[in-house]
């Protein structure tokens, strides 16, 4: 076996990011090209802009920034097959404390940004994570952390995360693609379901997920395949029953999120031959009501390096905000609130059916 072959081996195991494997889809420009013109450059899909125009929504403008979302890094203890961030243990991009300070300064100047939504990767793996949560919790905002659950069990230094979250009144949003082991492990890796269940029990133990405890634990469903989410309310009932009956777990709400054709999920769609059918499904399910309520209208997304985006998906496609100032260091709220939101074919993912956002269905 040559050295070259050895280097390729992790590809089959998929325990590393696409970037580590030098996969062509690790390049945002390659993804954008496929999304705009199809895999053979001959796509005839209706442009998203045209769909928005027909609904009187183009160009798309913000309704007012309320959610300040930070992606604090691409490092993660998991390598999920559907990850739009291409996160993994081999990634090195993490938000610096200086950039976090700049975010805190912006938040201080803008009390109208009522929600601080922290995501990653596994945000807890950023070395400044706890410091940032402590600082931001002093600003009297709702603080959400998108926790992959398994990080809590990953090693002893994370075991106290439920207590840490409780002390700072953090709302925990946790991915659990399904209430059965099979589907969860297929998407997120072997053993993830079992660890996720334990982590949820630990969160329950400190009071998370109980009504009136004031400690909110919301779950996130992602379809494990090339299909759309079932209705969110129905799914929530099934999750609630299965998790309580089988594991004694309680949670507050379930968010059903559509997978967007970006990064590793795009790779999955292309490799499994589902790309065209999936995109067709998204286009056919375009819902003007969902389009009017898309999350980019009240969100600003900050990347690990301080650049600003309309959402976490645009961030991964390297589509920065359309304003002249594109970095947290030159944050211009007035310009951002009147900007034109950058849209592309992947946006069909947020407007299909009941719609999809980081908070689940939008209609």
């Amino acid at each position: 076996m040559t050295n070259e072959n050895k280097a390729v081996l992790p590809l089959q195991n998929e325990k590393v990011s696409m970037q580590y494997r030098h996969h062509k889809l690790a390049e945002a420009a390659v993804q954008r090209e496929i999304l705009e013109h199809g895999r053979n450059g001959s796509d005839t899909m209706v442009p998203f802009q045209q769909k928005l125009s027909e609904s009187g929504l183009y160009p798309l403008h913000p309704t007012g920034i309320q959610i300040f979302q930070l992606n604090v890094g691409k490092v993660c203890n998991q390598v999920c097959r559907h990850c739009h961030v291409d996160a993994g243990p081999d990634r090195r991009e993490v938000m610096s404390r200086d950039t976090m300070r700049q975010c805190l300064a912006v938040l201080q100047q803008h009390p109208e940004f009522s929600v601080v939504d922290i995501t990653g990767g596994a945000p807890e793996m950023n070395p400044h994570f706890r410091w940032f949560v402590e600082e931001v919790s002093k600003l009297n905002r709702k603080v959400m952390v998108r926790c992959n659950l398994t990080i809590i069990l990953a090693n002893k230094s994370y075991h106290d995360l439920p207590q840490f979250y409780k002390e700072h009144g953090v709302e925990v949003v946790s991915s659990l693609p399904f209430y059965t082991q099979d589907r969860t492990d297929r998407q997120r890796g072997e053993g993830v379901f079992e660890d996720s269940i334990k982590a949820l029990q630990w969160l329950n133990d400190v009071g998370y997920g109980y009504e009136n405890s004031g400690l909110v634990l919301n779950l996130v469903f992602n379809p494990a395949g090339a299909f759309l989410s079932p209705p969110q309310a129905q799914l929530e009932r099934e999750y609630r029953k299965a998790l309580l009956d089988n594991y004694g777990i309680r949670f507050n709400a379930l968010f059903a999120i559509t997978n967007l054709p970006i990064s590793r999920y795009l790779d999955y769609l292309l490799q499994s031959g589902n790309y065209e059918k999936y995109m067709d499904k998204l286009v056919k399910a375009f819902n003007p009501v969902a389009a009017a309520g898309v999350m980019c209208r009240n969100t600003i997304s900050v990347g690990w390096d301080g650049f600003l985006y309309d959402c976490d998906f645009n961030q991964m496609l390297d589509l920065k905000v359309s304003t002249a100032a594109k970095h947290i260091s030159s944050f211009d709220a007035m310009a951002l609130n009147s900007r034109e939101i950058v849209v592309c074919q992947h946006c069909y993912g947020c407007t299909a059916g009941a719609g999809s956002s980081c908070g689940g269905a939008v209609t």
Binding site: R183, P223, G225, F227, P230, Q234
Partner: protein, 112 residues
Amino acid sequence: MNENHYYNAEDLQKFGSIGEFQQPLAEKFFGWYGEVFKDSELSAREKSLIALAVAHAVQCPYCIDAYSSDAFEKGWSEAQMMEAVHVAAAIKGGAALVHGVQMMNKVKEIAM
């Protein structure tokens, strides 16, 4: 039009067009169909699995495509779906075999 086969997967998407020839009855059918599959005494999820089994019993390729996707999307596992198909097959097999009693009755009637 390809006349060398009877089934075309793309025809499933055209199901709604049966109203072109008889609109009032089509409207009644699709309205009733939609009501049948709503959450009620049985959940939409349970109904999807029943539909999958029936699709196999009536051997309708369109229905099998539609309810394989629908049942999986509604959270049934591959093993559960295959068990539903076995239920359909067992009933079909049993339905054939139970006529063996009729055969026996007839033979006994005429045999010495």
